[in-house]
Symmetry: C2
Subunit: 316 residues, 2 copies
Amino acid sequence: MKKEDLFLGIDIGGTNTVVGLVTGTGEMIGKNTFPTFAGKSIKTFQQNLEKTCLQLVNSRKDHLLGLGIGMPGANSEKGTVFNPVNFVWGDVNLADMIRDQLKLPVFVTNDARASALGEMKFGNAVDLQTFIQITLGTGLGSSFVSRKEIINGNEGIAGEMGHTKIINKNRMCKCGKRGCLETYVSASGVIRTVFELLGSETIDSHMRDLSFNDLSSEAVTSWAEKGDELAQKAYLLTGEILGEKLADFVHIFNPEAIIISGGLAKAGKFLFEPMKHALNENLLPSHKNKTQIRISDPDVNYAVLGAASLVMNNVE
Amino acid sequence: MKKEDLFLGIDIGGTNTVVGLVTGTGEMIGKNTFPTFAGKSIKTFQQNLEKTCLQLVNSRKDHLLGLGIGMPGANSEKGTVFNPVNFVWGDVNLADMIRDQLKLPVFVTNDARASALGEMKFGNAVDLQTFIQITLGTGLGSSFVSRKEIINGNEGIAGEMGHTKIINKNRMCKCGKRGCLETYVSASGVIRTVFELLGSETIDSHMRDLSFNDLSSEAVTSWAEKGDELAQKAYLLTGEILGEKLADFVHIFNPEAIIISGGLAKAGKFLFEPMKHALNENLLPSHKNKTQIRISDPDVNYAVLGAASLVMNNVE
C-alpha cells in the first residue's frame, strides 16, 4: 500500500448512507451523506451513490483503490444482500452491481461487521481478541469477534442479534416476527417506547405535542438531557432490555468487552447506566465484572473506516 | 502416537462420573461408572476416581499416556473448576490436584466442550466447520464451534447456554438466578415440569403415584413412549422452550448444525418435534432451514472420547 492510496468506505443505513474517503492510516479526508431511500428502488440509490462518490474523489481518482460497503443483511462471502428488513431492494448482488457501475473493486459486508472491522483496525478494539460489537442505528446490528476473527457463520449471515427475542415483550417487528430485540433497542425502538409510555403513563412530557412521525431518537435524547422524565423512562426501559439480553451473550461468548456504537449511544448515562445494572443482575457469579463496556465515539464513523478497510486488507 | 497407546477419558456429571479407557482411534476398550457425589467433598471423588482408573487400566499401565477430564464449570486455560452449579467442591485446580494424585499428565475442559471435541474427532461433527453442541444431562451444557475451533471466550468460560434466560419463565435455578434455560431443558428440568403439570393439569398420569425424588427423566421418557399424555406434554413444553431459545443462537451464529447429546435426547420425537417446530417458527426467513439438527447416539459417550482426545492432541 502506498501513502497516497485512497479508499471509499460506504455505510448504508436504513435512513442515510455515509460515504467516506479514507487513507490507509484510517484518516477520513472527505465525507458526504445522502438519504438511502430504502423504500425506493435500488436504481435511485445507485445514482445517488455514484454522484456522491465522484464528487468526493474528484481529481484524486487515480489514487482510488476501491470501494468497501457495509449494510444490513449483506453476505460477505457472496457479495449479496438478502432482503434486509428496512429495505425494499429484495435479494440483490450488490458487489457485482456496484462493480459494473463504477468499474472499481468492490467488497461488501454486513453493517455491524464493518463497524467491528473499523474498531479492530483503528478504534476501540485494537487491543481486543474477543468482543461483541453492537451498532444502535435504525435497527440493531451486531458482530461477534473471537480471537480477532469475525464469526461469519456457515453462510455469512451470523450476528443477527437484532432479531433475537426479548423476554415478556411482543412488539411487532418489520421482519414479520414479534418480540425482536431491535423493536425496542434501536433508534426506532426508542420512539415506539416513548409513544407506548405516552399512552400507559400520566407523566407530563414535551413529547405529548409531537406526532410519531415527527419524533426522532436525537430529540428523545435531547429531552432526556433537559430533564423530561418520560424521555428518561424510555431510555431506562431500553437499557434494561438491552442489559438483560446481553447477559445471554456474555454467558455464551465470555467476551473481554462489548463495544457499542451508533446514534443511540449519544443517550449516554440514560441508556448505559440501566443497561450495565441489568447486565450485572443477570450474570452468573463466574461471569460478573469480566466484560468491559466501551462506548464508541459517535463522531467517528467506524463502519465507514471498516468498510474501507475491506479494500485495504485485499490490497495488502 | 503409537498403536498401543491408551488414554483415559473422564466425564464428570452432576450425578455420575464415567471413566473410559480409549485407544488413539477412539475405540473405548474399557468403561466404568461411579456416583460423583457432587454434594460431598472432593476427597471422596478423588478416592473413587483413583480406584476406578486403576481397575480399568490394570496391567496396561505402561501404555497409558494421560487423563482428560470434562466437567461443568471447568476452565480449559487454567485447569481450574469454578464453583459449578450442581457441585459443592468450590473453586479448585482440578488438573493440578489429579496430576499430583495420579502422577500422570492431566488436561481439563468444560463438559460440553469435551462432547464437542469428541464429536469433532470421532462423531457427528467430523464434517462440520461451524456448529453448536448441546448436552442435555443433569444440567444443560453447550459449546460453540466456529471454523473447527471451540470458542473458549476471554477467560475460558464461554458456552454457558444453560444459564441464558427463558422467555416468560421464572423458575428458580441452583445458580441463584431465575428463568435459566437449564431449569426447564435438562433431565432435572423435565422432572420439575412434570410436577408443575401434575398440579396445573387434570390429565391422569402414572406419575401421580410417584414422589419428586423417585421420578427420573428416563421414567418420564418411558411413560411418554407408553402414551402417558402428561409425560408427552412435559416434553412438548421442554422442546418448545429449547427451540425458541435456539433461534436466538442460530441468528447470532448461523451454524451448519446443532448436535444434541445426553440422556434426555433419548426422549426422541417427543422432545425434538416440538423443538424443531418452535425453532423454525422463530427464525428470520433468511435463517430458516439452514441449520441441521443432529441427534447424537446416546450409546456413544462422546464426552469421554473428547476428554481423552485432549491428551491425544497434546501427544501428537
